[in-house]
């Protein structure tokens, strides 16, 4: 396995200056007896129960399972978006739910790239501006480096020349590529994708996963993605299958 930032094959996903700003080394994730319930009393609904697993650094992991099985909740917990009702979550040995709110935000900003199911682009910004948006809050990235990084990552996801277009001027596949570019621009240690291909056709979905795979290979980014598409599951190094909030099977 190459070191962080070392090229494997002919394609660099990000230009050189990114290396200096990467917040953390490839991340190992560990969940221990994590559960999540909603409501209280008789109305309590368990969405996730007693999930324990470890994702090694640089892994490319699919979270599989039918709708309502807890995939999104699990990814949200790993990403620091939803506090588990029980259990603990460590990223590189640090319990992220012991962090204060501001520290958790900073952790997400610097360490997590999130690809949402529903695009989540800001409609009044162009593709390039959307990609640049989270980088604005990282003071260590100078304006010039930010611009070159945005252009490079848009080029990489195949949107070179379309950086000035607003989301409504792009196709669904292109929008999802912008979302991916935005997640990659910060050079995160962990990339989390929640059904990233749900809004895309077959080819578009596979292309997105392949892009993630390239990133994983080149940058050592730990990738977790939720899907119920068997072809996309097959592209993963390992798979965690959920059913009714319980971990049903781990496939290495």
């Amino acid at each position: 396995m190459p070191k962080t930032g070392e090229a494997r094959g002919g394609v660099h996903l990000l230009p050189g200056p990114v290396e200096a700003t990467r917040a953390a080394a490839p991340a190992q994730i560990r969940l221990e007896q994590v559960g999540r319930t909603y409501g209280a009393g008789e109305a309590t609904r368990r969405v996730l129960g007693d999930v324990t697993f470890t994702v090694p650094a640089r892994a490319f992991v699919a979270i599989a399972g039918p709708s309502g099985s807890g995939k999104t909740t699990l990814l949200s917990i790993v990403a620091g978006l939803d506090t588990p009702s029980a259990g603990r979550v460590w990223v590189n040995g640090r319990d992220i739910y012991r962090l204060r709110e501001a520290e958790l935000s900073a952790f997400r900003l610097r360490s997590i790239g999130f690809v949402f199911q529903d695009f989540s682009l800001i409609p009044v910004l162009s593709a390039a501006e959307n990609v640049a948006f989270p980088l604005l809050f990282r003071s260590e990235i100078a304006a010039g480096a930010r611009r070159s990084r945005v252009m490079a990552v848009l080029e990489q996801v195949g949107l070179g020349g379309k950086e000035g277009r607003r989301p409504h001027e792009l196709s669904a596949g292109e929008r999802q590529r912008v979302v991916l570019a935005r997640a990659l621009a910060g050079d995160p240690a962990i990339l989390i994708a929640d059904e990233p291909t749900a809004q895309l056709d077959e080819g578009g979905g596979e292309a997105i996963i392949h892009l993630m795979r390239t990133l994983n290979g080149e940058r050592g980014t730990t990738c977790l993605y939720a899907t119920h598409d068997p072809r996309l599951i097959a592209l993963a190094d390992s798979t965690l299958r959920l059913r009714n909030g319980l971990c049903e099977e781990r496939v290495a």
Partner: protein
Amino acid sequence: MSLLLRLALRNVFRNYLRSVVTLFVIGAGCAALIVNAGVVFNIFRELREDAIWGRYAHLQVYRRGYSQGHRAEPERYLIPPAEARRLIALARADPRIAHATRRREFSGMVSVGSRYTAFLGVGVEPEMDGEFSRHTELRLGQPLTVGDAYGVLAGMGLAQKMGADTGAELRLITTTGTGAFNAVHARLLGVFEGGFKDYDDWTLKAPLGAVEQLLMDDRTEQVVLLLRRTDDAPAVRASLERAFAQEGLDLEIRSWDQLALFHNQVVSLFGRELDVLRLIVCVIVILGIANAVSMSIVDRQFELAATRAMGVGARPLAGLLMTEALLTGLIGAALGVAAGVGIAWAVSQVGIAYPSPPGSTRPFRGGVDLVPHEILTAFSLSVAATVLAAVPPAWRAVRLRIAPALRRG
């Protein structure tokens, strides 16, 4: 322009209809404040001009202690002729002072035939009276003239009480400083309307020479000063006080705003009304904007949750939302200022017909004054109300629970 500012600006105009309504609410509130203040200040100005140019002038100079004691001991507070000449010379040396004249107030009875009527007299220098009475309208006859040493003017109400027409022969009767009765024959030259009923019902203006003859006293009660600019009154007063002290003149000065009690009461009353209106407009703007901002945040809940998920902290996100509110306020208030100025100009072209105010004898036509500090106040209040209104929804937005909001999206 930074991306964050660009984003805030674009978000302001994101929902066209809502933006229009929001900007309309802010703009209308701001314009209402400007126009209302303009109307009120126009009334203030009219009253001020009436007070200055009709009765009191800008400054009045008396012997020290006059204000407190002249009613009890009028003879004690009179200025000898030589001293009056010195103080007028000092006043005329100041280029900010346009005119200076002597006056003597007295009271007595006027008879027309066998009919006797009480009056309050003012002895004036005829050649100066026109300048000092610009807001006094001559309804009948002619003004005082230097050539007619015994020609007098009466207020409309007094003329009616006397039952005298212009040209009527009058006899002015009063008591002198020594307590003796004295009288002079005079002729009614004209009838004036000063605009204040009490003033018009009692006032008789006579040439100062005739009054000095009647009172058998050539001392001056007051020297009144007209300035080129009303705003100079405090400064001129201060420099005259210094000059009087240097010259050893024991005099006191009162300015028009100390004397014009009716003007002061109206300013106080309408000033409160302005404050109440400001409060009402602020409440309307705050409620309108809070609703608009809340709607905007509800619409963008998924987007805001995604922004938080990307790691944008609560503080920067609140900053973004408040920047949007600030821009909305600035744009809305700027439109409001433009609208307010436009309305003020248009209304002033047409004019507003007012009935006679309480205590006044004549209606007047007013307009809408553009008062710079009131425009600035309206602008600032509108922006502040908008920003204030955005605080609670912005606070709720940054405390949004991210995962549920993303699921709802």
